[in-house]
């Protein structure tokens, strides 16, 4: 029994945190709104470090690691509000192709995705669009009969505008066929959905960490009535409650990643618990953050909105809290 990240996992997360603090600061996230929804050069850095291929086998240029090794890094992505599709690529596409694609192409795709030379789009059921579909060479797309691996040249894209201007989303249309369908397509789809839920939950925790930290910094500086507004109890208690909710969501998220790594039979239920708790916590934190900022928080000049809008999108993505609670309910109460 030891429910804490290993020194290696923490060292990886710290390394990514440093990279993102340096290369993906708020100004660059903001710039991604006007640009192509990516931070220039960042993808290559993440590939070089091995982050994209962390879960790919070593033979395909990966690090051969497990979901639980990656989850703290995904939270770092959230902390930085990274606009690039880190979670969908590293935490969903790579292990799905690794476990479920059996064609000779699979190894090549893993190698190229890990190296950052090929990009992958992930379209799971329930989500409105695919992130960064325009520059994807290959897609994992879910149909009624499970998950398909689909070449870019047979899909049609319809760009969608998200409230989060850094999110480049497209609706993807295509025709499922036996040729595109993965061998165990249904299992692949359900595992991919679980992985996506956990990855997004981890990102939400990171987003919420930053929103809370921004707010603590702001209310410690901003003065009204001659004192910092952070000395008012109404402000303190909102932020304390937000922290409680967030800190008790995190262990559910870490556990869900562990359960996936160890093949725990309850892994799917754990994923739902993680996503429900993280979505709710990000909601609570986001509301408190906005309220405690006052009108400055209600502007596009203030960086808060970059994180807030991402959190709105991610709360709904991969199943919202209500949907996941219903899944837990079905497992628990039958």
């Amino acid at each position: 029994m030891r429910f804490a990240f290993t020194d290696d996992q923490l060292a990886f997360a710290d390394a990514v945190r440093e990279l993102l603090a340096d290369q993906c600061d708020a100004a660059r996230v903001r710039a991604a709104w006007d640009g192509d929804g990516r931070v220039p050069g960042l993808w290559d850095r993440l590939a070089e470090m091995g982050v994209l291929g962390m879960l790919a086998p070593e033979g395909t240029g990966g690090l051969g690691m497990a979901d639980v090794d990656l989850v703290a890094i995904l939270a770092e992505g959230g902390r930085a509000a990274i606009p690039d599709p880190l979670a969908a690529t590293a935490a969903v596409a790579v292990p799905t192709i690794r476990d479920h694609a059996q064609s000779d192409d699979a190894e090549r795709w893993l190698a190229e995705i890990s190296a950052g030379t090929a990009r992958v789009g992930v379209g799971l059921s329930g989500n409105v669009g695919v992130l960064h579909a325009a520059d994807a060479a290959i897609f994992l797309l879910e149909a009624d009969d499970g998950l398909h691996l689909v070449d870019a040249d047979v899909v049609e894209l319809q760009p969608l505008d998200s409230v989060d201007g850094a999110r480049r989303l497209s609706a993807v249309t295509w025709t499922p066929s036996a040729a595109t369908r993965l061998p165990s397509a249904e299992l692949a789809a359900s595992q991919a959905r679980d992985r996506a839920a956990v990855a997004t939950a981890a990102e939400l925790c990171g987003l919420a960490d930053t929103m809370l930290a921004m707010t603590v910094a702001y209310v410690s500086e901003r003065r009204q009535f001659g004192v910092p507004i952070g000395s008012f109890q109404a402000v303190k208690h909102q932020l304390a409650d937000a922290l409680v909710e967030l800190e008790f969501a995190k262990p559910l998220v870490w556990r869900a990643a562990l359960s996936r790594s160890t093949g725990d039979p309850s892994a799917s239920m754990h994923a739902s618990m993680a996503k429900a708790a993280a979505s709710d916590a990000a909601h609570t934190v986001g509301l408190a953050a906005l309220q405690c900022h006052g009108a400055i928080g209600y502007t596009v000049e203030c960086d808060l909105h970059l994180w807030l809008k991402r959190s709105w999108a991610l709360r709904a993505q991969d199943g919202d809290a209500a949907a996941h609670r219903r899944l837990v309910e079905a497992a628990l109460l039958g």
Partner: protein, 401 residues
Amino acid sequence: MRRLHAYLTGRQNLRVDLTWTPEQDAFRDECRTWLQRNVPSEPLPSGDTREGFARHLDWERQLFADRWAVVSWPEAYGGRDASLWEWLIFEEEYYRAGAPQRVTQNGIFLLAPTIFEFGTRTQQDYYLPRMAAAEDLWCQGWSEPNAGSDLASLTSKAVRDEAAGGWRLSGQKTWTTRGAFCTHLFGLFRTDPDSVRHHGLTYFMVPLETEGVTVRGFGRLDGDEGFAEVFFDEAFVSDDLILGAVGSGWSVAMATTSSERGLTLRSPGRFQATAARLVRLVRDRGLDTADPSTREAIVRAWMAAEAYSLYTLADVSGMVEGRSPGFRSSLNKIFWSELDVDLHTAALAVLGGEGELETIGGTENPWLKGYQFSLSGPIYAGTNEIQRNIIAERVLGLPRK
């Protein structure tokens, strides 16, 4: 750009691991077997009534006789030298088995850690075994009529009696849990008349039979005589009844209160057992009898019990490796107390109109009592508003008033 591999620390012995070792599983089996054989088949009457308290003492002595009263203590004091992990396992099994409430908890879980930390060897050797054996029964005397959340404003005093080699206590404590049934009280008294706030306080351990001490029990919300007020009228206590140094009572007391907020008083097994009973309750009564919003409330509360358990495992992992939760124990206090209210609120919703009944189908309705008790969680052990102040100032670092 360095590959992540370059960051490997070489410390590979540590893993994230939510499984127990074979030794820990064996310990669990031992707990479970003993509890199965010994837990009374009929629930005991409430330990917050005079009759129920006596019945609970029999149980406590049975626990002690088989060395289950204080598993984490050294064997010399009646324990098993159990690790923090084993203690968690014991607690899980204890609550899963539906074993009786621990009427000795204020001694064993709150005073004892403080005696281990601050007591002299003589005090440890004398008090700890008697506490474990439920010979001395301890209540805590912090609150006073005019000093609740603002404990540092307390006015009960201790006046030096040099000739007699001790102190004379005067004043009043109140809300003292099970004070009318206990034999001893620990609490703070002002030894320096010129001091203010948390200076000049001293931590005393007082036999309630001392001349000049009067105890009056009174009813709590649930009607049980679980509260008492304790009056001190120049009651004499000798120097050896002081825990820690004269004048340092505040910091000694803070050790006790942090035990109360955090792990030792409220282990996750307690809430997981309640959550499991809640799920059984709704299943037994038929899912279709529960409104969708009630079912959602059940799922939320059950998930919160899971979250509390996992959070605790993370906390204990840190403690085992020397990382103390410090002020973060205030997060636990808020979470477990609200969780307990939510669990019981959901159960009463399942019971619907029957929820108000003291007995259902001839047996006691445990949820009604549990609900009433859960409502005190956000008040005792430092109100949740006080915990929010602590979190805001000490964990988040917001400016103090």
